[in-house]
């Protein structure tokens, strides 16, 4: 059975801190892994990772995939209150995304 585990479940930090969110997975026919950010409503797409060891970066956010050890991390540097959200990891097999339960990040001023 496909499995996605995100850790930590919840994280509370102050503005300016750096955080690392983890996602481990066991998915048959793995093709890629996506990260989403969910604030009050719809998840919004952040990254798609297909190759091991190649960092994807967007501003203060970056992510990397390790297909041998079956995990991915999402880093956020110099956090801001606007980063407060649930971050969802979703490996993709041949036809669907399999979502983790998410990490809830709260950033306080």
């Amino acid at each position: 059975e496909d499995k996605v585990v995100q850790s930590p479940l919840s994280l509370v930090v102050h503005e300016g801190d750096t955080v690392t969110l983890n996602c481990s997975y066991e998915v048959t026919n793995f093709r890629s892994l996506l990260w989403y950010k969910q604030e009050k409503k719809a998840p919004t797409f952040l990254f798609m990772l297909t190759s091991s060891g190649i960092e994807k970066k967007s501003g203060r956010l970056s992510s990397i995939l390790d297909k041998k050890e079956l995990f991915s991390i999402l880093n956020i540097t110099a956090t801001q209150t606007g980063d407060s959200a649930v971050y969802l990891c979703a490996p993709y097999n041949t036809d669907k995304l399999i979502f983790g339960t998410g990490t809830r990040l709260q950033v306080f001023p």
Binding site: R31, Y36, D95, K96, L97
Partner: protein
């Protein structure tokens, strides 16, 4: 910009009622998906569709059915709503099979009394 819209943001229904949740996307996407999201369980796939009139069961299809009569519209139907179907329902679409990035609608929060 891709736009996925859902017919209602909040809905309150009674046990036993038939409930229709509508989703429309405006980007000619082939694939559409219905998820429910519950605390501690994440997003779980209910049904998806690769094409008009085609549907596939997801992980938790029991108690639900779907309809895709037009490419842009994907409906989720609760034939007889039950309290355990109280949840946030999210619709998503993607360009075609194998194109992983899914774009989500704003969600419908359904309360079944």
């Amino acid at each position: 910009d891709v736009k996925v819209t859902q017919s209602s943001r909040y809905l309150v229904k009674r046990t036993g009622e038939k409930v229709f949740l509508e989703c429309v996307q405006d980007m000619d996407h082939e694939n559409m998906f219905w998820y429910r999201q519950d605390p501690g369980l994440g997003l779980r796939l209910i049904y998806f569709s690769y094409d008009v009139k085609m549907k596939e069961k997801g992980d938790i299809p029991e108690g639900y059915s779907v309809s895709r009569e037009k490419k842009e519209r994907f409906s989720l139907i609760l034939e007889s709503a039950s309290t355990n179907q109280t949840s946030m329902y999210l619709c998503a679409s993607s360009v075609w099979t194998g194109q992983e990035t899914q774009y989500f609608g704003p969600g419908t929060r359904l309360l079944v009394l």
